[in-house]
């Protein structure tokens, strides 16, 4: 598993360099459309206020305060074990599904605290979807059923044609429709790894969330599949707020508008070191630890 990951990453970097000119032009134009300087007072989707996350007595994430901008891609980077994934899992209350996992602090979605006692985590997860590190389609379901697995939840009756429309829409949003429209009845496991991951993105989009969290979505994929997912993330940003955890700094630089850098403190808890516009953070970091990390001096 680890070996394979390393391999993929190495290959990933190699291919990235080869296809860099094309990618840069593409990204450049996207950024120009959105303007060179991003205003600091953009609408906020999720506001994290003093978030701590624990595994039993161990604190894995320490006192994070951060505003995630709406309809933007925010990446979370940092060395292994710095609490990136834990922090992400706190944003849709998945952390509490882990044995002994608990949190304190506030996470506001549209000014509502998702950790409020009256809030049902199920309702939170319908508004804040999640894509995991390893593609995890449901093996006993067809491609079609995989896409609407979430949509069909909590519904007693669904219109067949509405269901079909929703599947088509979600698969088109996930840039998968053309590849799978003839195999909707096959098992989701029959697809390639990259297609499986886009299937998982499609089933998340079919629930119509506001925010999509992605936990290293490309780390189990080959370079070509990785590029497809990155393109997809850029497309989705017109409609969704995206938070992506990645251990690949080039990926963060390519896909995100905003970047968050986390680092493990002396007590082994992850702390927020720097947060800013991606371009600024990568070219002109304010904190010397950020600079050390992005120039490859550790991590």
């Amino acid at each position: 598993m680890n070996k394979r990951d390393d391999q993929v990453n190495n290959e990933g970097t190699a291919t990235e360099e080869r296809s860099l000119p094309h990618r840069r032009v593409h990204l450049h134009s996207e950024h120009q459309q959105q303007g060179e300087q991003k205003p600091a007072d953009m609408p906020i989707s999720i506001s994290i206020q003093g978030l701590n996350a624990y595994y039993g007595k161990f604190r894995a994430v320490k006192n994070i305060t951060l505003d995630i901008k709406a309809k933007q891609v925010t990446s979370v980077i940092g060395p292994s074990g710095c609490g990136k994934s834990t922090m992400l899992r706190c944003l849709n209350r998945m952390h509490e599904e882990t044995q002994n996992g608990r949190t304190d602090g506030k996470v506001l979605l549209d000014d509502e605290d998702i950790y409020d006692k009256r809030v049902d985590p199920v309702a939170v997860r319908r508004k804040i979807g999640m894509v995991f590190q390893k593609p995890n389609p449901f093996p006993t379901m067809s491609v079609f059923d995989n896409v609407v697995a979430g949509f069909k939840l909590n519904r007693f009756w669904v219109n067949k044609s509405e269901l079909a429309d929703r599947v088509e829409l979600a698969l088109k949003q996930a840039s998968l429709w053309d590849e799978v429209k003839d195999k909707l009845n096959q098992s989701g496991m029959a697809l390639s790894g990259g297609q499986q991951q886009r299937l998982c993105i499609a089933r998340t989009l079919a629930v119509e969330p506001e925010v999509v969290l992605m936990d290293e979505p490309c780390s189990a994929l080959d370079p070509v599949a990785t590029l497809k997912i990155e393109d997809l993330i850029r497309q989705l940003t017109s409609k969704y707020t995206i938070v992506i955890v990645t251990h690949n700094m080039q990926q963060a630089a390519r896909v995100s508008d905003w970047t968050t850098f986390l680092l493990m403190g002396d007590d082994r808890a992850g702390e927020l070191i720097e947060y800013g516009e991606t371009k600024q953070l990568f070219t002109n970091p304010k904190d010397e630890r950020t600079e050390a990390y992005i120039t490859g001096r550790f991590g």
Binding site: N92, M94, E97, Q99, V122, A123, R125, R126, G129, M130, F132, K134, N136, P137, F138, P139, T140, M141, A149, G150, L153, N154, S187, M189, A190, C200, R203, T204, V207
Partner: protein, 330 residues
């Protein structure tokens, strides 16, 4: 970082060896081991063949006299030397089925709780209790059944007959306590631990990402278990149920004690029931002439056949469920 350029080297002088210094023929241990395990496998095959041969040999006299009609014969009369065993076949199948109906939901429910919901400190003790339940000798279950369960069942029977007596299943005699219902319940208690223990391991082997994937779509825990976890491991769960069924079919002692052992076709849940295994056990010492003994062994042969047929059907079922689906058991 300082040690990056130093490579650990052995302080001993390097000795060059040839591949032929270690010829394959010198590997005695491997060959002995190979022959030992092959012998063990052979032993199992020989043993089961001998078992079948002996069953046929022992029941030959009865097979010659009654032929295949023994299976649907409904008379068991040692005085007139006439034997047929349909009532015990029906009895065996019905009480096993009843046991499954009671035990499967409880077992899978308990397995889900232990595997997914139970806090860590409770998981160990619970598993231990379940497993020690499986180790209790059958005769203890029988005694407990006779002294504790049967009186309770009798009260339930009287109540059911009083209120729902018009329903055919509840129309039997509600006076004994012993019978199909008591046998089914005691069997259910006996097979619950084995189904629970195996299901628990199977459910725990489902990757966490399946449950999380469903939860992240906004499923409740119940929905995540029903739509992601149980479908993922349904083949394994079917296997666990079949193991439980196997034990229920062959169970002898407890069923003999609470079944009532009347040789008649059952028509309701309250009728006393004779099963194949309990018939063999209870009558073997009374069998005074060779055709009687031979008939009892013939019952054993039929039971053996039924067990095999059910196992084959179960295999086909499992094969049908998993057909064309990849990645159900990784």
């Amino acid at each position: 970082m300082a040690g990056r350029n130093t490579i650990a080297t052995s302080p001993l002088p390097a000795q060059k060896t040839k591949l032929s210094d270690h010829p394959a023929s010198a590997n005695w241990g491997d060959r002995i081991f190979y022959n030992l395990v092959r012998l063990s496998a052979l032993f199992v095959i020989i043993l089961s063949s001998l078992l079948v041969i002996e069953l046929f040999h022992g029941s030959w006299e009865a097979i010659n006299k009654f032929g295949i009609g023994f299976i649907w014969g409904t008379t068991w009369d040692p005085v007139k030397e006439e034997f047929g065993t349909l009532p015990t076949i029906i009895g065996t199948l019905v009480k096993s089925l009843l046991a499954l109906i009671i035990a499967v939901p409880i077992s899978i429910g308990a397995a889900v709780y232990i595997a997914i919901f139970a806090p860590k400190w409770l998981r160990g003790p619970l598993s231990y209790l379940v497993e020690s339940l499986a180790a209790i000798p059958s005769v203890i279950f029988g005694l407990w059944g006779l002294f504790v369960l049967v009186p309770i069942v009798r009260v339930i029977q009287i109540w059911l007959k009083g209120h729902f007596g018009w329903f055919p299943l509840f129309s039997g005699p509600a006076v004994y306590g012993v019978g199909v219902l008591a046998a089914g319940i005691i069997l259910a208690i006996m097979i619950t631990p084995i189904i629970t223990a195996i299901s628990r391991d199977i459910i725990r082997s489902v990757p966490k990402s399946q449950m999380e994937g469903m939860l992240a779509l906004g499923a409740t825990r119940w929905e995540a278990i029903r739509k992601a976890i149980l479908p993922y491991c349904r083949v394994g769960l079917a296997g666990a149920v079949i193991l439980g069924l196997g034990r229920a079919l062959g169970e002898t002692m407890a069923v003999t004690m609470v079944g009532g052992n009347a040789f008649a076709l059952i028509t309701s849940l309250f009728d006393p029931v004779h099963s194949m295994a309990s018939q063999i056990a209870s009558e073997f010492s009374e069998a005074t002439y060779s055709l009687y003994i031979s008939s009892l062994i013939y019952v054993g042969l039929v039971l053996f056949g039924i067990t095999i047929i059910i196992n084959i059907l179960a295999q086909i079922l499992i094969w049908k469920i998993s057909n064309g689906k990849v990645g159900i058991i990784e």
